[in-house]
Structures are given as structure tokens and as C-alpha cells.
Amino acid sequence: MLGYALRRVLSAIPIALIAVTVCFFVLRLAPGGPFDGERALPPTVLANLRAHYNLDQPLVVQYLIYIWRLLQGDLGPSMVIDGFNVSQLISIGFPFTLTVAMSAFVIATVIGVIAGMIAAVNQNKWPDYVLVLVVMLGVVIPNFLMAALLQLWFGVYLGWLPAGGWVAGSIPHLVLPVTVLAWPHAARISRLMRGSMIEVLGTNFVRTARSKGLGQRLVLARHAIKPALLPVVSYLGPGMSYLLTGSLAVEQIFGLPGIGKYFVTAALNRDYGVVLGTTILYMFIILALNLIVDLVYAWLDPKVRYR
């Protein structure tokens, strides 16, 4: 198991490096730059600015400088927001984003797994039909639309919850954003769980377990859930990355102080440092998540470890 983990970690390193390289060059090769503002800057000022951020160097040199700094954990300065470097902006916004995404992730995963199991065990009976409908709505309504509808219904018509904005430490302000993020995630998980649970309940080994007279609860808990979780687990990595990227939009909609705000503004202003820094951060998180998922998968399915 340890050897397997080590191999997986090592194989993630070149992927991360290549991904950083791709992002760097895509951003830099695109037309436009951080200082193409509304009013043109005087040439001398522009030259100074470009020199300050090493933009006057050949692209390859800039790349090497960037990688060298990156290895030391330095994501470089923001080129638009004066006096802030990228790490500072991330450390301001990211903890909030992570909190929102993680709470949605945990809530949605638990609900999704349980809902999927209930639907599978009651296949083609009313709890199944109700759950399938709720799930379908969660899957097809895009998050910005769901946000708008929930704001309208709970925030305006019913007035139960704040429709947007942020007061430090206020849980009610988080209810709608987390719901918007969590619903589709829970929906996808319960779809996966329902499908795989139905499949597992029809397998020979579940029949064997039933033939042993273990009782419904033990059959489900010990024999069915673990194998049924396999497809769910392999979705958790991508699922978390959808949640994190999705939270960019949700923060924007609800006016929450996460990293989404900085990212969208930075992209519009061609602030290379912030865009690249955020993208790299997300990429590393996704790679790390995939790694964790692989390891959990190996634990769930003993066969994987020997491949």
C-alpha cells in the first residue's frame, strides 16, 4: 500500500510541471497585457513597469524565473493590484472559498450517498421516484440559475434567509451559497450511488451474503456499500474540483469574499500573476485530490494495489 502511494505521488510530479508550463505559455502567448489600460501609459513608465515585472526579458527566461520562484513557493506579484503579491491575495480569499466548498462537499457527499442508497433499495417505488426527480433538477439547473431562483424564493418572497452579501461569521449568509453548490454535487453522487448500488445488489456475492442469513442491515452495510462506493469515490476528486471552480461563480453571485472575486477581475485585467497563481493553486489541489482518491480507491478495491 505504501509503495503504491509512493508511485502515485511520483507520477503526479511531471503532470504538475507540464500543466504549469502549458498554463504559463497559453497566458503569455495571448494578445494583450496588464498595462493595456483605457489610457495609454507614457512609454518610459511602461518600459519601467515591464522591466520591473521582467516582461522585457525573452519568454523562456521569464518562464525559468517563474519556475524558480515557484519552487521556492513564491507565486510572484500582482501586476494590477498595487502592493499585493499573489500569495497574499490567495491567503486572503482562499480560506473562505475552501470553507464554503468543503462544507458543501461534505454535506453533499453524505446526503448523496444516503439518498442513492435509499433510491436503490427502494428501486421503482415512490421514494425512488421522488429522489430521482429532485436529483434531476439538481443536475440540470446550472448553479447561477439555481442561485437566482433560490434568492428570489427564500430571500425575497419568503424572506427567510439573506439573499446575498456577507457578515463575518454569519451562518445564515452561507446557507444559500452552500445549497447552490451542494445540490448538483449531491445529485451526481446519488445518481452514481443509485446505479452502482443496484448493480451490486444484483451481484452473486450479495446473493451469497443473503444466503448466509446475515440480515438486510449487515448485507447492506458490510457487503454492498463498500463495492458500491467505488464509482462514487472516483468521482469525488473531479467533484471537489467542480465545487471549487463552481464556488468562483457562486461567490460572485452572492457577493462573498472568496478568491472568485479576485480571479474574475484579474482575468479581465490580464493580471498574469494572479490568474496563473490561482490556476496553479487549483491544479495542485485537483492533482492532490486525485491522488487521495486513488489511494482511497486502492483501499476499497484490494485488486487495484497489485496492478
Binding site: F144, G195, I286
Partner: protein
């Protein structure tokens, strides 16, 4: 592009089943699946609704009394009014919402269609080349696909759109350019299995060039996967497009798309709810139907699953 339809799963399964069959039977597998789909009531109704929406979006604008950018100064911010033929009401500028929703739907469908075609073309070329050449080239090309899978898509689209401007055509290309990964995987698997078959061996022995073999023998065998891929990809792209438009990165005024309409409707939903609800209902109906069709396809391909 959150994989609302479980595209990867469905297509991989389909490709695996194709591989275990002989070439001519591959076609009958697709026919079988379509026949089974025709028996699925939810899917058939969904297909009918989708066809209706598509027709309405492309033909409808010629029949509605107002143009999508035409201003009716006598009704600004008005709820649905049948006497003046504003069946969905008007927006703040006095433009007819029905005309705008039809135009927006049309734009969303065009974006989805073009992006799907772009991704299918890239996917087929990439996958066929990797599969046909095989060996180290194949390994390298597929490694690149793996890496791109690891990148956060939506960030990438945002970057592309921001950097290359906001022209709708670029939006199509940008979205299509990152959607091709799944298609490439499927095509590669297909190519690997097809190229070992006798008829391809024979063509190669007869001196046919690789490109001829790919276009004559491999691409025609991909009809089934392409149809399924397109069905499953279109809703994902509609969502992606509407999301970008919502952020203000997509389709620009006076043209509009469902996402743009929703983004304009959302802030004023409290006082002008029809501005949010009319595009929202069309979008949700369209996506719901496409998802049911996707589900129907999956069941049709894997009948044991029911």
C-alpha cells in the same frame, strides 16, 4: 462542464462493447440501441420537445410580431400582454421577451452545435492519429490527454475567452477546443481495434496511405459513438456557454443567449420576474429533455442496467 450526463462512463462502455463485436455488427448494435430508445417513453417525449424547441428557435423568429432588438416604446417593463402580442412580457428597454428568448435559444443552440462539431473533429483526428500510429507516439499523445483532464476546464475557458476576446465564434472554438478529450479517447480505442481487422490489413497491404485508411475505414465506423457523444455533449456546452454569458464573458448585446438573458433577468427578478422565468424555463426544459435522452441512450446501450 460538470459532466451532467456521465458522458465518459456511457461512451467508454459503448466503445468496449463495440470492440468485442465484429465490424458489421457494430452498426447493428447502434440500430438495436436506437430501437430500444424508441420504446422509452420519457426519451421519445424529450426528443419531441427538443425538436419543437429547435424548430421554434430557428423558425419562430419569422412568425413572432416583434424583432429581438425592436423597441416598443409603449410597453416598457410590462408583464405578458396578449393584446399587444408581448406573450412573455417586455424588458427594461421595451423589447419583446418572446423574441429575445427565441433568439437566445437559437444562439445557445448554435454555440452548442458548433462547439460540438469542433470537438468531434479535433477528437477524431487526434484519436485516430494516436491509435493508428500506436507505440510511443500514442503513449505520448494519450499522456497529454491525461494531463489536460487534470486541468481545471472552466478556468481554462475563462482564460481563453478573456485573452482572445469576446466574439461568439471564439467562444465556440474555445469551448470546443477543450471538450474533445473524451472523443479522442473513444476514437483511439476504436482505431486500435479496427486497425487489426482483416479489411484494414488488406488495405494496408494494397498500399493505401495511412490517411486514406483512417478516412475510408476508420472514420465511417465511428457514426454510433459520434451520435451518442453529440447528444451528451450538447447539454454540457449549453451550460458552459450560459455560465460564461452569465459572467459577462459570452454572447454580447444586442445579441443574446439564454445565459445572457438569465444574467439580465436575475438582478431584476424581484420586480420583473418574467424576465428571469421565461429564459429559465426554456433552459431547464431543454436541459432536462437532453438529459432524459442521454439517460435513455445509456439504458438502450446497456439493457441489463434496468
Amino acid at each position: 462542464m460538470a459532466g451532467i450526463t456521465g458522458k465518459d462512463e456511457v461512451l467508454t462502455q459503448y466503445a468496449r462493447r463495440l470492440e468485442t463485436l465484429e465490424a458489421p455488427k457494430g452498426r447493428s448494435l447502434t440500430q438495436d440501441a436506437l430501437r430500444r430508445l424508441a420504446r422509452n417513453k420519457a426519451a421519445v417525449i424529450s426528443i419531441a420537445i427538443v425538436v419543437f424547441i429547435v424548430l421554434a428557435a430557428f423558425v419562430g423568429p419569422y412568425f413572432v410580431p416583434w424583432g429581438y432588438s425592436e423597441v416598443d416604446w409603449t410597453s416598457i417593463r410590462k408583464p405578458p400582454d396578449f393584446a399587444k402580442a408581448h406573450y412573455f412580457g417586455t424588458d427594461q428597454n421595451g423589447r419583446d421577451m418572446l423574441a429575445r428568448v427565441l433568439q437566445g435559444t437559437q444562439m445557445s443552440l448554435i454555440v452548442a452545435g458548433v462547439a460540438t462539431i469542433v470537438s468531434v473533429v479535433i477528437g477524431i483526428i487526434y484519436g485516430a492519429v494516436a491509435g493508428y500510429l500506436g507505440g510511443r507516439v500514442d503513449a505520448l499523445m494519450m499522456r497529454i490527454v491525461d494531463i489536460m483532464y487534470a486541468l481545471p476546464y472552466i478556468l481554462f475557458v475563462i482564460i481563453l475567452v478573456v485573452m482572445f476576446g469576446r466574439h461568439p465564434v471564439l467562444l465556440f472554438v474555445g469551448i470546443g477546443a477543450i471538450e474533445w478529450l473524451t472523443m479522442a479517447r473513444i476514437v483511439r480505442g476504436q482505431t486500435l481495434s479496427i486497425k487489426e481487422r482483416e479489411f484494414v490489413e488488406a488495405a494496408r497491404a494494397g498500399g493505401a496511405k495511412p490517411w486514406t485508411i483512417i478516412s475510408r475505414h476508420i472514420v465511417p465506423n465511428l457514426t454510433g459513438p459520434v451520435v451518442i457523444y453529440a447528444t451528451l455533449t450538447i447539454p454540457e456546452i449549453i451550460i458552459a456557454e450560459s455560465f460564461l454569458s452569465y459572467l459577462g464573458l459570452g454572447v454580447q448585446e444586442p445579441q443574446t443567449s439564454l445565459g445572457t438573458l438569465i444574467s439580465f433577468g436575475a438582478p431584476v427578478a424581484e420586480v420583473l420576474p418574467w424576465m428571469l422565468l421565461s429564459p429559465a424555463i426554456v433552459l431547464v426544459t431543454l436541459l432536462l429533455c437532453l438529459t432524459y435522452i442521454g439517460d435513455g441512450l445509456r439504458d438502450a446501450l446497456d439493457p441489463k442496467d434496468r
